[in-house]
């Protein structure tokens, strides 16, 4: 009996040792896994962005673009995120919504920018969406919802236009699962702190949207598709308590007001 037990242990040890030995080889590099994933993401991103450009009105206001670029650049620099990984676009729509899609594309509706009272509130939402991009939540969600084979057929152009349209609609109108949303909030707070942007306005923005009258809830897509806004706001307040010690604004008050004016007049 003892002999059998010792042999069984040895067999388990042999298996674990061979697994450990194989782990020492960089398979991801040998099989070009990361490059293949990145290429697929980029192809999907281009496909979706082409579709959005055809169906939505893209805002090309230079001042708004430059201002958003300043906000994103500060967050990226402070958090060691390659700036070229995040492609921010503004869509003219009254819905209070923002979403990310493959290839590092981040869409913000003008309705959301106009609902934000200051740059910190907007940065909170941007950081949350950036966290979805950086933590690879977008591709995970797409694989889960649509399946790997469907995504690959989309990148090869064999799926027609209906599937990409459905995928964009899914990304813009539904949340990630609870665990991923929580992770995105946590990373968003970390990004804000490192970029020396106050975290309370992000929580206040959630409170504010959650308390809006039901009558206008149809327009509050971002909050409507995300779970438990009050619970999330409490977590953000608690997690970011007392941080950052020193906050520094990115845009001047005048520039922030100018963004709002420019968007209102368009």
């Amino acid at each position: 009996m003892k002999k059998v037990f010792a042999q069984a242990l040895l067999l388990i040890a042999l298996f674990l040792a061979s697994w450990f030995a194989f782990q020492q080889i960089d398979w991801m590099k040998i099989f070009h896994v990361e490059q293949a994933t990145k290429k697929t993401e980029e192809k999907l991103g281009d496909l979706f962005w082409d579709l959005i450009q055809k169906t939505e009105k893209v805002n090309h206001n230079k001042f708004v673009e430059r201002s958003l670029d300043s906000l994103v650049s500060r967050i990226c620099t402070a958090n060691d995120i390659a700036r070229e990984n995040i492609k921010i676009h503004v869509i003219e729509k009254d819905d209070v919504n923002a979403f990310a899609f493959p290839g590092g594309h981040l869409i913000i509706y003008t309705g959301l920018i106009l609902s934000a009272e200051n740059e910190a509130e907007l940065c909170g939402v941007i950081c949350h969406e950036m966290a979805h991009i950086e933590r690879n939540h977008v591709m995970k969600k797409m694989v889960k919802e649509l399946g790997l084979s469907v995504l690959i057929s989309m990148t090869s152009g064999n799926s027609g236009s209906e599937l990409p349209r459905k995928a964009v609609s899914m990304l813009s109108s539904s949340a990630f699962d609870r665990k991923l949303e929580h992770e995105a909030d946590q990373f968003a707070v970390d990004y804000l702190i490192k970029a020396q942007i106050p975290t309370e306005p992000f929580a206040e923005f959630l409170y504010k949207l959650a308390e809006k009258d039901n009558a206008i809830n149809g327009y509050l897509s971002w909050i409507g598709t995300h779970p438990e806004p009050k619970e999330r706001a409490e977590f953000i307040l608690d997690y970011g308590k007392g941080k950052p010690e020193k906050a520094e604004s990115i845009l001047s008050k005048g520039n922030w007001d100018k963004i709002q004016d420019e968007l209102k007049n368009e």
């Binding site: 059998v4 042999q7 298996f15 697994w19 782990q23 398979w27 991801m28 896994v33 995970k140 665990k179």
Partner: protein
């Protein structure tokens, strides 16, 4: 890994065929149900149930085939569910995952070769006892029912 044990007992043609078939069952199941690791075990278990009242030689080899499949089931099930969670869940392909697949493949290959060898030798009436599984089978399978 395998050793041929010479015994004074010589199995009849019918016994050798049945004992050899117990190994072949797992090979056929591997071909039929490669993505589902449980199929091999079910096939060998069904064959064992059919022969549990057979002669000692037949029973012994059915149990050895079954036990060897049971340990592979654990290794393959982990690989199977890991793959499912990558395709449908939130896991992504990692170095650990690929390394695991290679380790599992090597173990499956060794088992596969050993199974073919044992099936051939058993068909010739030779008694093949595997390292670990042979001893374990001795503990479970007794000459008298």
């Amino acid at each position: 890994m395998n050793q041929t044990i010479s015994t004074t007992f010589t199995p009849s043609e019918h016994e050798a065929e049945k004992a050899s078939n117990s190994y072949l069952m797992s090979l056929i199941a591997v071909i039929a149900g490669l993505p589902l690791p449980i199929l091999n075990l079910i096939a060998t278990f069904a064959f064992y149930l059919g022969n549990r009242k057979g002669t000692y030689f037949v029973r012994w080899h059915c149990i050895q085939a079954l036990l060897s499949q049971a340990s592979l089931l654990i290794v393959n099930s982990v690989g199977f569910w890991w793959t499912i969670s990558i395709i449908l869940g939130s896991e992504s392909i990692s170095n650990d995952y690929i390394a695991y697949l290679f380790a599992a493949f090597i173990f499956n290959l060794i088992e596969f070769i050993a199974t073919i060898h044992t099936a051939i030798q058993t068909r010739k009436g030779k008694h093949i006892s595997w390292w670990l599984y042979g001893d374990l089978t001795d503990l479970i399978c007794k000459p008298t029912l």
